[in-house]
Symmetry: C2
Subunit: 321 residues, 2 copies
């Protein structure tokens, strides 16, 4: 199984280079803007895992990338496949058919994948295969069932495409919490993103232990008014993501029983669960609930090595389009 | 009553200039980094409405600003006031005592404001007055009661400082939803931020009508798979803020009955409440739940005038420290 990590999580060319050096087959991105940044940094095998609306500006940008790189995009409808073909067939952009496996976001039904693939092939595009994202795996009781949904949907989609006489060279899936629950052989390619750092969601799902989490926000205690410990790591640093299963708005690495009980833009109010109050000015490492969202708020990641800190730019920050 | 708008909302020097040209007395900011950006753009009367931890690096940055501008910071404890004085008294930085009026975030108790002010004055600082933020006004049933809490807390704090023989020249408060519920004469200075744009929170609180909302994210329909309308305005464009009273993850200006029922980083799934589905490629204007958080995700605001769009940089984006 190939690893094609989703780099929307870190948006960092340095981390992408580490992933590729360790054997990643290419990168997954969410937008053309992210693809452009990683392309400029020498990562030229890019899958835009998103059903792009291919208009004239998108066509021109994809043409530039495809002329010197290996570029694939998602499609999830017959119309979208035909439109992509009209614009992109001359440039060798490949497509992967997105199917819905239970998140009910984008993606055609698995048994519709054959018709979408045919529309793409007829319009002159090379169909690489099928993909899905089991986003409904983000729940303490749904990781296994979502992995089963994913396996079933991808098998159905693969069969539907092959029934049309088209080759399926890639069956792509995987989220960080569901991958461990997926049988070997379902996927030819996995696209996890969050695994590279971990975050409080993975910690609280039980998908990654806190000791393996590699990203934190170093916060300063700014107030103890009323006996409340207040940190300066607000939602403009941690992001406001909070899942139904989240126990707060982030976790403290050195205080696993503590909870962030109130979050505003520049304040995180911490319930220390009876631990002694820190002093104003103390620094605490806060793990954001969702690392992808938190990283997208920062201009640089600060990499700690031998007690020194050096900045790695979040080069694709804010590249939403 | 003076208006000292909080520019964390827009982070835009152009909008700050408009506010000052219309009579704003100065600007409120949340961080030294925001203060530096607005200072560089010619806005030199700045209140950092936050209980800063004043260490050596903060002192040096504040000194640079105070040498040529008029700078005040928040303090909410005796220790913090004494520390601020030790570092900042030589540079003419003023302080405003923060009191808690019911949000239970930062701020000393109102009747402790006198002791904090005395600590600041004894350490050589000029005490400008007292301030609070009635953040608990953000609820459909709490706008009026929070305004009453605010009035009571500020009156108590003002009296406590005056009892110590110190002059209170500024009594500062106000949030966008609570200001309309505050009696005249309570404040000498108001610090609303969100009023400049409005957002779905204000709309749903009934604090600002949708017709007055000036900020939206222009989103593109990217998928109709399964009969769901999916927009590309995900949490990396709208931010994930969702209050207890929010009816979804943002609102559509032209479809007031529609709701965003699922939000991920690059997807907003819309329930159109029975309205006909748009076409893939259609553009819709989405009002974020919380404009401050959404603006902080963008490099530029695009100002629409005479059918033309021009960019205004979000110059203080990401300046969290």
């Amino acid at each position: 199984m190939a690893l094609r990590p989703h780099v929307k999580t870190h948006k960092s060319p340095e981390i992408a280079r580490l992933q590729l050096a360790e054997g990643a087959a290419g990168l997954s991105v969410a937008t053309i803007g992210e693809a452009e940044v990683f392309f400029q940094h020498g990562c030229t095998d890019l899958f835009i895992a998103y059903p792009l609306h291919v208009d004239e500006p998108a066509t021109e940008r994809l043409r530039v990338l495809a002329e010197r790189g290996r570029i694939a995009i998602g499609v999830d409808s017959i119309d979208g496949a035909a439109r992509a073909g009209r614009h992109l067939a001359p440039y060798g952009v490949e497509v992967v058919v997105e199917v819905d496996c239970g998140q009910h976001r984008t993606g055609c039904q698995p048994d519709e994948a054959g018709a979408v693939a045919v529309a793409a092939a007829r319009s002159g595009l090379t169909v690489r295969g099928v993909f899905t994202f089991p986003g409904h795996s983000y729940g303490p009781d749904t990781m296994e069932t979502a992995a089963a949904d994913e396996a079933r949907a991808l098998a159905t989609a693969r069969a539907a495409v092959e029934r049309e006489g088209l080759e399926v060279s890639v069956v792509s899936g995987g989220s960080t919490p569901s991958l461990a629950h997926l049988d070997a052989g379902v996927l030819t390619e996995a696209r996890p993103g969050v695994y590279v750092f971990g975050d409080a969601q993975q910690w609280e799902l039980g998908a990654m232990p806190p000791g393996s989490i590699a990203l934190a926000c170093r916060a300063t205690v700014v107030s103890l008014a009323g006996g409340r410990a207040v940190l300066d790591s607000g939602s403009k640093a941690l992001a406001a993501d909070r899942a139904a299963y989240s126990t707060g708005s982030g976790r403290l690495l050195d205080h696993p029983d503590a909870r962030i009980v109130q979050l505003s833009e520049h304040h995180a109010v911490v319930d220390l669960a009876g631990a002694p109050l820190p002093r104003v000015g103390d620094q605490l490492d806060v793990v954001p609930n969702h690392c992808c969202a938190a990283v997208n708020l920062a201009d640089d990641l600060w990499v700690e090595e031998d007690d020194a800190l050096r900045p790695w730019p979040v080069a694709a920050r804010g590249r939403n389009g």
